[in-house]
Structure formats: structure tokens, C-alpha cells
């Protein structure tokens, strides 16, 4: 069993934690794991791409272009930017939320959400749009966006382990006082794709 997952987003969205949760869950299932994350400068509102590989044995942590089975996009424009990593027929879960960079406010670059959504619809057959940030807010904090996205991914039944297992690992890695909110966020994500 091999599975390559790319997580894209903006610094501060909890991208790294999401990749750790996936990796830990796979490891508990006896799969070899590799993750690679941007740590450092990019975390300050820059582009952050995490890669999670399950069952790839002695291969490296970097997923080749056109090879990812799943693209988990925490932000709309970053999902489009990450699309070249996805293989033909791969699954895309996209948070429809936009985060406008300063360059857009200053008129130095453009961001057209409608155009990007329709591009994604054209390119990715397996597109699952999720209002993840709105659902996270509903759960108690927009910071739980990553948990909604993981819930949605688990709900799609494309992982080599059960949704309940991913949920359990996520809860183990989250501080006790934040568990309730994050649990709710995870479940809202599952429901959003009809997975629970």
C-alpha cells in the first residue's frame, strides 16, 4: 500500500500538525512514513507545502510531480499552485476560503477566486470543495481549519486506515483543553463530505 499526500496552504494554518497526524496514523498501521515540511521563513504568511508519503519504504520524502494521490488544499490559491503535484485522477479536497496576500492589497498581483474555483473544477475530477474555515468557526475557532480538512479527508475513505483511527491520533496530538473544539471540527469535516 502506497499513498502520497500533498498538503498546501499558508503559514500559520496548521499544515505541519496535519502532516504529523497523518504520518502518525499511518505509522500505527505499520506503514513506513516520510513527511517533509517547510519550517522557517515561509511560516510567516508564505506558501507552505507539506508532503506525506505512506508505504514508500526507502524513497525520499519529496513527492515527484504528477504523483500525489491526494491534494489537501487549506487555501484556494495555494491549492491551484499545488496542482502540478497531483496525479491523473487524484483526489483534491479544497478549502474554499481565500487568504489575500499583501501583494493583492497593494495591487502588485491579482487573486480571482471564481476563476480559480472553475479552473479546479475543470482540472480535477475528484474535486471536493469544503467550507472548512467556516465550519471551523462553527466548531469554535477558525484555527481548527486543519482539523476540518483532516475530517473531510477521513470521510472520503481514501486512506489506508479508518476515519476513527485518524480522529483518535489527532486527539492524542492536540492539547487537552483544545480537544473538544477540534473533535467537533473533525466531525464537521467528515459530515461535509457525507462521510459520517
Amino acid at each position: 500500500m502506497r499513498l502520497d499526500i500533498v498538503i498546501t496552504g499558508v503559514g500559520g494554518q496548521g499544515n505541519v500538525l496535519a502532516s504529523r497526524i497523518l504520518a502518525r496514523a499511518a505509522m500505527d498501521y505499520g506503514l513506513s512514513v516520510r513527511t517533509s515540511e517547510a519550517i522557517g521563513m515561509a511560516q510567516r504568511e508564505g506558501v507552505v507545502m507539506s508532503q506525506v508519503r505512506m508505504g514508500s519504504g526507502s524513497f525520499g520524502a519529496l513527492i515527484p510531480n504528477g504523483q500525489a494521490d491526494i491534494l489537501l488544499g487549506f487555501e484556494l490559491a495555494e491549492t491551484v499552485r499545488g496542482l502540478p503535484k497531483l496525479k491523473q485522477g487524484g483526489v483534491v479536497v479544497v478549502n474554499t476560503e481565500t487568504i489575500f496576500p499583501v501583494s493583492v492589497s497593494l495591487g502588485l498581483s491579482q487573486y480571482d477566486p471564481d476563476q480559480l474555483i472553475s479552473y479546479l473544477q475543470e482540472q480535477a475530477d475528484g474535486l471536493k470543495p469544503v467550507h472548512a474555515t467556516a465550519l471551523a468557526r462553527q466548531a469554535g475557532t477558525p484555527k481548527a481549519t486543519n482539523m476540518v480538512m483532516l475530517g473531510a479527508l477521513a470521510g472520503l475513505n481514501v486512506l489506508p486506515f479508518a476515519a476513527a483511527h485518524l480522529k483518535q491520533v489527532a486527539m492524542e496530538l492536540i492539547p487537552t483543553r483544545l480537544r473538544e473544539i477540534n473533535l467537533k471540527a473533525f466531525e464537521l469535516g467528515q459530515q461535509a463530505v457525507g462521510g459520517a
Binding site: 512514513v33 519550517i39 510567516r44 504568511e45 508564505g46 514508500s56 502540478p84 499583501v102 501583494s103 491579482q110
Partner: protein
Amino acid sequence: MKKLLMGNEAIAYGALEAGVQVVTGYPGTPSSEIFTTLAGMAGERGFHAEWSVNEKVALEVAAGAAYAGARAMVTMKQVGLNVAADPLMTLAYIGVKGGLVLVVADDPGPHSSQNEQDTRKFAQFAKLPVLDPSTPQEAKDMTRAAFDISESLGLPVIIRPTTRTCHVCQDVEVDEKQMERPKPGGFQKDPGWVIFPSLAIKRHRWLNQQQDEMQKIFENSPFNKIHPGSRRSGIVTTGVAYNYVLEVIEQMQLDIPVLKIGTSYPLPVHSTLQFLDGIDRVLVIEEQEPVLEDQLIKMIWQHRRPLVLRGKYNRLVPREGELDVDKVKRAVAAFFEIDLPCKEEKKLPPLPVRPPVLCAGCPHRASFYAFKQAARGTDAVFTGDIGCYTLGNMAPLNAVDTCLCMGASITLGTGLQLVEPERRVVAFLGDSTFFHTGIPGLINAVHNGARLTVVVLDNRTTAMTGHQSHPGLTRNATGQRVEPLEIARLAEACGAGLVQVVDPLAYDEAVQAAREALEFQGVSVLVMRRECIALVKGQNPSRRIDREKCLDCGVCLEELGCPALFKGEEGPVIGTACTGCDLCKQICPAEAIVEGGEVQ
């Protein structure tokens, strides 16, 4: 047992397993988590861990411990090794008693560095052995082995992980038991510890002889392995590139022999020659500089092997940036003359540019803005330094005109001022950077009669690399309470004529202080002191815009470049990233920014 560990954490576990007794370092991406992991265990496990003020100091402290027989480790990033180069080059002559391991993390790409220098070149230069891990597991195993190698050679050993080892997580087999080390024998007086020219002559000869010893040790190293294959063309590789080679071979279904070298300097001659016996053509794949390739070319010539060798010099393998499976595949395809199917590159729609920026509520934004206001109408130069505040270079602040290396804001500014004495120079650097190499530059500026303003952006931490301690703080790396050093008093002691401490978020006072500093004839130091927003986030309610009052003039958006502010349909909007720092409120000409948001 197996643990999910980042390469940096794995290195820390390797040091732990080897019974490390002293750990020092200076933070720098991608190396920082090695030390952080160890510092967290230091109290319980009973070893010493310190963030030193810079890499030279870190290496010298570790060397002292190793002189006394302890196992010591020092961590830094590739550019940090330049700072530590002075002790390193001579330490190779002097040698060590206890095991001394330098972990120097390289950053090909580069993702967060000023250059892409290859530490293996430094190892060759210093004539020290270097190990080149390909995975977190191997990084852990190499760290453990490096202490033994260091002790058997009496020399420091360098481990050179790269970003994709440091910041990669893997299921790593760890040994929970810490190796019990005997109490170090202590320092024994001996003329061998004092480097005189006469000793240097002798030791240089010894160091050169040690190259053969290193080679012998590496001949049987478990870090070098052969993947058998039936063809007479093969690949020699090292470090993370090894992983990419394996994946490419599987993808392309090539039955070729691969030699993986984990000991990239010095190259083990006999085992490598044995591998080459079965081969007519060899492709060398390694990240960054042709370190293996150069050694192989030399070996082929010395041993008269009629081999075809390809790699960086034929431009088959890139010499700049990171490698990945796709790049390695292109090189392998070219070498084996295999046509790769031409994939049509999907053209993406226009996407917004998203460079890293100063965080919403970052006090540095306020400091830069205050100086921009104070210097308005002048042609002042703003020299910058290494840290979060390098991002002050981004539009719309455009407040960093130079950035070279740690501490160079002051010294470069001093040099600029020699050529254009009438032009105002403002040198910005952070609190940790001030302690790292800022102080000698400040002393130099004072002593040589410079006229410039030094701005210490004191956010009470080393923010860019993950909030490490420094001597201005009340806690050290292991959490002990220590007496903080006052930067303003140090600046006075260095001879700065005007020293002031201001809160950058008190906008009017900050601009006033900046004006006074700029007018001062001599060296002025302004300590702009306010905690990093990441340390105090969530303490203030966010702000909102009063639509009745807002003139939609664009000042808040266009002047500050705060990521919490963006353009809405009816004018500027303050988003959930707002931390309530109030800088925009203080510059809004219509007083339209008001309290009343939520605590995020």
C-alpha cells in the same frame, strides 16, 4: 521502539544514545530543532546544553569540554560554520580527547539562507571527516557513530544533514537507553594544547597522515552500501540524492548497480574501486557541489581506470538548488539515453504572489515605519541584518537596503558612511544578532568616529528560528533563571553617545526618538523594545473599521503592508489575523480604526 521523528530530533536521539555530555549551538534554519530537542532533555538526563552567543563561541565551548574528555556536540547552519571557521581550522591541528561532533545543516534551495554553500567543502578544507545522511534514521545512526569515530581519530567529525533530512519526518528506530559514559577524565596539562608555529608544523603533518586513517575507517563503514544491478553502467550517489536515485530506478525499471556513499570525505578508495570494477560508465548524483565527483575523478586518474564519468561537469546534474526525483530522472534519462515522454505542462491561471511577510502585529513593522517617517525627505540608507526583520525589505515598507550576514548591518553601514559622510545611515539588527556579532561592530564604529544610528529591534527572543533564548533574557536554554543583560547599558559601555529605549508601538514617541537619533552627531543607539507578537498573541482584541468615518484613503493598507488588512468592496477590512497592535489606528488620518473586535 519506533518513533515518528524529524531528522533534527533523530540527530538529538543519536547524541543521547552516544551519551553526549555537553551540547552547544546557535539557532539557524534548518538546524535549530537538534539543539531544542536536546535542551528539553538536558535537565532530566544530566548534561549541559547552552545556546551560545554565536557559532565561534559555541564551537570553542564544546571544544573545551572535549579537551577535558567529555563527549560534546555543537549545532549550527551552514553559514554559521563561517563564523566558527577560525577555531575549526586550528582545532583540526590540535585535535580533541573526548568525542566532538559538529552538526552543520546545509540548506540547498536555499529555503531560508543567504547562500547555498556546501559544508562538505569546508570539511575537506579543514581536513576533517564528514558524514552525509540520507534519512532521519541514518542521521541518528551516524550521530551515534560519529562520537566513536571522533574519539578513535582524536579529531572533530562533521555531520552534514540537508533540509530534506533535517525537516523530514520518518518512523525511526530509537534506543531508549542512554549510553552510560564514564565521568570525563578532566583536562590534563600538556604542550599539545597550545598552538605555537612549531607545534602547527608537526600537527599539520599528523593531520595529513590522519587522512589515511579516516579513509581506512570508512572502508568498512555501514553507511556505504551497494545495490547490485546487472548493467555495466552505474550510479554513485550520497546524502538525500540516494533516495531520489532509488525512486527513479524503480520508476524507470532500471537494473543498474548503485553505490551509496555516506562518508563523503574522505572517499573510501578500495571499496569504491571494487564497485567500479564491474562498471564502464558511471553517473555521479549528489546535491550541491561535486565533492564526490571530484574525488572520483582523481581516483580514476590515479588508478588509471578507463571509465566514462558523468555528473555536474557535463551539466547532467544541477549544481545549484535542491535535487528531487524529477531532476534526478532527467539526469538518469540523459545518461542512459532514454527518451522521457514529454508531459504537457498544465498552464496555471494567474496566482497571487505570496512571499513571507512580517506577521500581523509584528513590532518591527512599527520600528521601520517610525524610521521611515523620521527620515522622510532625506536619502538615508537602511542597512539590514539576518532575522525576521530582513522581511522589512518587502513592499510597502521597503526599509532594508542591504543584508549580508549576521552583524553586518552596523559594519557595512560604517563603511558606507566612510564614502558618503553626509548621508544618514540607520543599521537595523535584532537582539540576538546584537549579541551574536553586533557588539564588536558597535565598538568599532565608536572607536573609529563613525556617525550612524544603530537600531536594536529587541523583541525579547530569537524569533525567526523558533524563539530561542539569548543573553538579554531571564531564562536560558534549559529554563534556568539567569540575570538578563541590558542592551542599552551594553551600548553605553561600548561608547555610544546617545542611547534610548522606546516602545515602537507608541508611534509618536518612536518617531520622535528616531528623529533625535538621526540628528545625533556620532553613534546613536535606539533600542526598540516590544515583545514578539507570537509570544503575546491573543491578549488584545482585534480592531475594526468604523465605516462612517473611513475615507477609504488607503493609508492603512498601502503604508504598513499588514497581512491583517485587505481591500474589501466598501474599503479596507481588518481580518481575523489582527492582534490589536494599534499601529494602523495611530496612523489613520480619519480616526476610523476603533476597538471592538474579538480576542483571537
